[in-house]
Amino acid sequence: MNTPVHTLSTHRSSSLPRQHFLLRWVITLLVLVAPLAWSQPAAMSGTLGAVGSDTMAGLMLRWGETLTTRYPEVKLQFQASGSASAPTALVAGTTRLGPMSRPMTADERDNFIERYGYPPLELKVARDALIVVVHRHNPLRTLTRQQVDAIFSTSRACGGEAPIRRWEQLPATRDWSFGHIALHGRNLASGTHGLFQERALCGGQFRNDISEHPGSSAVVAAVGESANAMGYAGFNHLTPAVHALSLYNDEGTAIPPDEASVQSGDYPLSRYLYLYVNQPPGETLPPPEQAFLRLILSEEGQQIARASGFVPLTQTVIREQQKRP
């Protein structure tokens, strides 16, 4: 009784050679998952990771590229989803470098201190501005603060009289027959959104019919495509498809957003760009981070900032920053 079964089974196994493939899968799986057990970052692995502002994404990438051409063993990892993600990531410990297009709020700083016991190192790395843009053929050239607020907000905290919803309500665009002003802006997590709310809307509330784009370049592209649009974006995304408006300062003169007025801070919505670093006091940073910070504050790094559309820091600010790390 035993013999025939046996022959049958050998016969079967020769015709179907995959008898152990389940086992093989398990082995393959083990072989592939096994490295996980040993994978640990070597002390000098040199990974340069940053999470934060997507306004600064291009800038961080270019700095990073320059660094990697010099030190090919340095690894880059950038995640850019908005300034608000930087403090989160710094506190959660998912990164050491947090580029932000606005200063940290007191809450964010407190959260960091609560987690680590020391404040994050704050570096100014370039100058930037928020621009209000319209379609390139739009005759509008200047806006007052009250007008900006009346256009973008529901609360009119800056003292505008009535909401401005249509192009006819602005004197310069009485003949711009495109009806409603279609508004474009950034999503909630971006520092651009937060800063515009604070500085241009005097802390008021945004209208809820503003199209929220995931990036400043998307705002500029959208405004450049439609004649009835107005939006706010970062200075570095300015292209000839749109026109950046001059804004009145407190003394009542209209200041155009250009390199000089942004660098000096005369343009009302200009700002610094920051890099927050998780550096425990008394400890030195890992070499790639050190090299990165040195590059940023060098003449070359500032020229790269200019090539990405930002405005370099003045020499006094650079010297001030260099003393810190």
């Binding site: 989803s81 009806g179 409603h180 909630l188 019919d209 199209s211 929220e212 439609s226």
Partner: protein, 372 residues
């Protein structure tokens, strides 16, 4: 399952191996099923803190998102249902078998096109084009069905020889150049129509007469783009349901004097009704859950507006943009997870409904059709 007893020396080893293997498989299988179950458990667990607070804030924040999701899905279905069902009816009942074996995989291939590609085309290419040529786009929506009907009329008037060359059973293919030609004509004529019938500018007219806003990325764009993505899933299931209608039913109806269209309308569609219903349900589930297309083509404005020319913000897009920034444990984090839970429950229910209906339908066919 009882195994035959063999008196062999390898017997205990084999039985042991068998038992161990069965145990392993069971453990693995149950483990996988538990992992799947964990999704639901996790979502519920993470939203519990929110429900404990029980505030109305969550509702206030979620309701525009829920509305946006529904609006986007509705717009997509409005476009997808007629096209997908039309295509399903045609390919199940009129198309030649040879053509069908080629066309069906081609249409199902549409489903494979990644949402991010469709979203990019819709958001950056289609949306600005439609904004500049709104009248043309609207004319096209009316013009395309008309031109199909025109093709039918011309065909019935045509000579027999031509008709034999261009049979209805191949119309799915030879109508393509016809439609392309008609689209070209419409695009050429539309500016003229806009000028003479609508007094120059349709958008100005909409604004002045009806006070309607126009946003570049709006429900119309999302409807077309997401409709494109949903068509294949509705088509595929509806076509299966129609093709599975026992032929005896249609033949019987025709034998009793019904025309082919009557047989289709009164018999085949009714018989396949539940299948078509489940196809639409699956399509709705897909439309509600689609992320990248809505994210890239909707403008992300959290509005309560029913206008087809205004944008919306869906739950999926909100999760994709905001969750990476939300600090774990914070209120936004829990809120977004609540949105995920709502999506999960909704699609799960919709799919279960579709599945149950389909299984019941299969049983019914078995009763009517005998052999199926």
């Amino acid at each position: 399952m009882t195994l035959p007893r063999l008196n062999s020396s390898r017997q205990p080893l084999r039985l042991l191996r068998d038992r161990v293997a069965t145990g392993l498989i069971t453990a693995g299988g149950v483990g996988v099923l538990l992992a799947i179950l964990a999704i639901g458990v996790f979502l519920v667990w993470e939203t519990l803190p929110l429900l404990a607070i029980g505030d109305t804030l969550a509702l206030a924040k979620l309701s525009p998102l829920a509305w946006g999701t529904l609006k986007a899905a509705l717009a997509a279905l409005l476009f997808a249902i007629p096209v997908a069902l039309g295509a399903a009816i045609y390919s199940a009942l009129f198309m030649s078998a040879r053509l069908r074996s080629r066309i069906k995989p081609a249409l199902e291939m549409m489903e494979a096109i990644p949402g991010v590609v469709v979203g990019f085309i819709a958001g950056l290419i289609l949306a600005p084009w439609v904004e500049r040529h709104l009248a043309s786009a609207l004319v096209l929506i009316i013009w395309l069905p008309l031109s199909a009907a025109l093709a039918g009329l011309l065909w019935q008037l045509a000579k027999t020889r031509l008709r034999r060359r261009l049979p209805l059973s191949w119309a799915g293919l030879w109508l393509i150049p016809w439609l392309a030609f008609m689209v070209a004509i419409a695009l050429w004529l539309a500016p003229w129509l806009e000028l003479h019938w609508l007094g120059g500018d349709l958008r100005q007219l909409l604004d002045q007469r009806y006070g309607m806003d126009y946003a570049t990325r709006n429900a119309l764009i999302v409807g077309i783009a997401m409709g494109f993505a949903v068509i294949p899933s509705i088509y595929s299931l509806a076509e299966d349901a129609l093709a599975d209608v026992p032929p005896t039913l249609i033949e019987g109806a025709q034998a009793l004097g019904a025309s082919r269209w009557q047989a289709l309308w009164k018999v085949a569609l009714v018989a396949a009704g539940p299948g078509i219903f489940s196809a639409i349900m699956i399509g709705a589930g897909r439309a509600v859950g689609e992320t990248m297309i809505v994210l890239m083509a909707s403008g992300n404005t959290a509005l309560f507006s029913a206008s087809p020319f205004e944008g919306m913000r869906s739950m999926t897009a909100a999760i994709a943009i905001e969750l990476p920034e939300a600090s774990p444990g914070g209120q936004t984090y829990h809120l977004l997870i609540l949105a995920a839970l709502v999506l999960f429950i909704f699609t799960f229910l919709v799919n279960t409904l579709a599945e149950v209906v389909r299984q019941r339908l299969r049983r019914r066919y078995r009763q009517i059709g005998g052999t199926l």
